[in-house]
Symmetry: C2
Subunit: 347 residues, 2 copies
């Protein structure tokens, strides 16, 4: 394609030295107004844009921050990325994002890729890669982790109190009179999935509700697994009046399973999620869930990284999730007759 115009061309054309052009570009030093105008005119005319690679090489900073995400198309990570994008806006920094797909090997490759590109900082969203690999990265550039605790870097982790979030859900259900509540867990290779499940168990115990192994299911955070587990649950015939899902996506899947069995939400069973994805406002009925402000978390991470880059030592305020009661939860259907709340035919 056409020849790219360099700072050199601009300098020649304007009759000044490259240094002068550089100075004008970066505002590094004073330049007499007439030269400045001359140069700026030439820049306009030639449509010159500085080569970021060369700038990076020359001054040792790439003005980019690496983002290791897991699945760019998941609504959860999508919103976080949008938050990061927003947090970086206005700064000179630009996010480079790579997906790890929850696979340690791919995550490692992603980190390598980003280090090769000499990102000035790194933001890590979840992931299953060992802490050690992240510590290694953190030795070279400032690192902030979101939704995951990294040993030795705890003060650089934007954490969510998953236990507290689930506890609020259980408390809400208990207040509505639910006792038999089922749970679909997330992929337990992920820290947060474990925390949420444990939080659920703790809360149930605290509130004196029965914790039945047959009502504890294990999904993988996807809609499909939510549907699968919910439908297994239904088929098992064990009665329950509320179903707590470890995230909104699984709740969505579970909702479909309930629909297929003709169960109404919340009249027959109450359903809850976790994350408060944007679209959870629009499910039928709108989903009761735990708000995570995913977007803000991303933004906070970006801002933290920026101040880290500016040399500050920012302090992270831990994020407290909050229950959003919508319309997928309601009072227990039948006034607690001994022996079972819901009877499912075995068809």
């Amino acid at each position: 394609m056409s020849v790219t115009v360099t700072l050199m061309h601009v300098a020649r054309e304007a009759g000044v030295s490259p240094s002068t052009v550089s100075r004008i570009l970066n505002g590094t030093a004073n330049v007499t107004p007439d030269k400045r105008e001359r140069v700026e005119a030439v820049i306009q005319r030639l449509n010159f844009t500085p080569n970021v690679q060369a700038q990076a090489l020359a001054n040792g900073r790439s003005f980019s921050v690496g983002v290791l995400t897991q699945n760019i198309s998941s609504p959860f990570y999508g919103e976080t990325l949008a938050g990061i994008e927003r947090g970086l806006e206005g700064s000179l920094y630009y996010p480079l994002v790579v997906s790890g797909h929850w696979q340690a090997e791919q995550e490692q490759q992603a980190l390598d890729l980003l280090m090769r590109r000499r990102v000035d900082a790194m933001i890590v969203l979840g992931g299953v890669i060992e802490d050690e690999a992240l510590q290694q990265v953190a030795e070279r550039v400032p690192l902030v982790a979101v939704g995951r605790n990294v040993l030795g870097l705890t003060e650089r982790c934007v954490l969510i109190d998953n236990r507290e979030g689930i506890r609020q859900v259980v408390r809400h259900l208990a207040e509505l009179g639910h006792r038999e509540v089922a749970y679909i867990s997330g992929l337990e290779t992920q820290q947060d999935a474990v925390e949420r499940r444990e939080g659920f168990e703790e809360a149930m115990r605290e509130l004196g509700l029965p914790l039945r192994p047959t009502l504890m299911r294990r999904g993988d955070y996807t809609e499909a697994s939510g549907e699968q587990e919910a439908s297994d649950l239904l088929r098992s015939g064990v009665p329950f009046s509320a179903l707590v899902c470890a995230n909104d996506q699984m709740a969505l899947g579970a909702r479909l399973a309930l629909y297929r069995r003709g169960m109404r939400v919340p009249e027959d069973v109450s359903l809850t999620g976790f994350d408060d994805l944007f679209s959870s406002r629009y499910t039928t009925p709108p989903l009761t869930t735990v708000h995570q402000a995913v977007n803000e978390l991303g933004q906070q991470a970006a801002e933290t990284v920026l101040s880290l880059l500016a040399g500050d030592l920012p302090h992270m305020t831990p994020y407290v999730p909050r229950l959003i009661v919508r319309e997928s939860t309601g009072p227990v259907p039948h006034p607690l007759t001994a022996g079972g709340l819901l009877m499912h035919d075995s068809s």
Copy 2:
């Protein structure tokens, strides 16, 4: 942070010249096995990773392709991005993505940003920026547009036959006996929104169905607008038995409006979308929609870009969307009594 190790360090440590190390890194030329081993050992030991910026500068290619998207957190663009990511996988290229948020100015800034980073190619997803700006970019690097036609670059556009997609929807509804069908259009500053609406109008005429202005609504592709327009529609009292939405997100919003009014889908009204977002499989009931293979479109765009970069002139197969019938559409409720299908109280 710690000093970064350069190719120079490796060379010195291994007792060879920088050229040799470079040759080993890139497989550019033969190197005697013992030297190769020596160097590779040092690379391992020093944990050396080549600086991509420097490489880019030296050989004039950055091995990155720019992606101008609109809203990174929208499920639609998220899936497209995942497709692009996948299409680029295995190649040496890496996507740099920036969001334009459907604002010409921001899109221009995004393009500038990417050109500064000297991307080797560009993928444009939709957008409202003038064709001229894209033509200008296309003069410098190979460019592929998805879901948008760019004057003078049509052969580089991955297009979707929006008219045909909507026509299939209308035909499907007609076969089910629907006559009074309402339509919620997308943001008509976007090409595809116009095409879909026109396609709807054409199809209705072709099939001899009445085209009532009062049943034509104008949304903006968001869930909120879908809810708003559907609820206005309902409140207006004009009877209709089917509601066609220009995309899935608005259908989701409309679904909620129907739910609020106690209207069942599809028993009382049939509902359709467009895009076949992943989550549309999980709405209640699962949504009848037009499949766009957003993911594959992204992948195809990426592959096209790669062959363009390899110097080929790939030929683009235009994409034909296809109707996916799920459970949100059904036969007309009442057997067509004169004067109105549905009566809405004015409350």
